[in-house]
Assembly symmetry: C2
Homo-oligomer: 87 residues x 2
């Protein structure tokens, strides 16, 4: 499935969350990852991230889509993501 993951994480934990997300998804913008991922790997990602975040301060939203057939992506301005400028 296709996943868009957006995060808002406290400074102390953000590097660890980024490292974990990066194992499964592509970084596309400050606080946004996306990518194709299996159900099994999405579960793994959620468990790993769940161990890092502070549930009373941090926030992660995961949008998942069984198909991208009905979707479209448009970028305005610069494309920030990619391996090169990844934190």
């Amino acid at each position: 499935m296709f996943v868009i993951l957006v995060y808002d994480i406290g400074e102390k934990r953000v590097a660890k969350v980024l490292k974990t997300c990066r194992k499964y998804l592509y970084w596309v913008q400050n606080s946004v990852f996306e990518g194709e991922i299996s159900e099994a790997n999405l579960t793994k990602l959620k468990i790993e991230v769940g161990r890092i975040i502070d549930y009373e301060q941090d926030s992660i939203i995961i949008y998942s889509f069984r198909t991208t057939k009905y979707s479209n992506v448009e970028i305005m301005g610069i494309k920030k993501g990619g391996e090169d400028n990844f934190l």
Copy 2:
């Protein structure tokens, strides 16, 4: 259609972008808006935002979906969005 809009905007312009996005969508997390929007209003939003952003520094990604039938949303941690704590 359903839209997820993520932004990474320079400090000087961010308040104006937020104000514009808020006219059409709901704020759900730091740098994320979502909502149902007509094609006509999405075009308006893009034009209005396009007048504010610096195309060499800022970045906006707009994911649009003709249906949310094949999608799912999951929130981990706190729910930050909503009118109350909007900037």
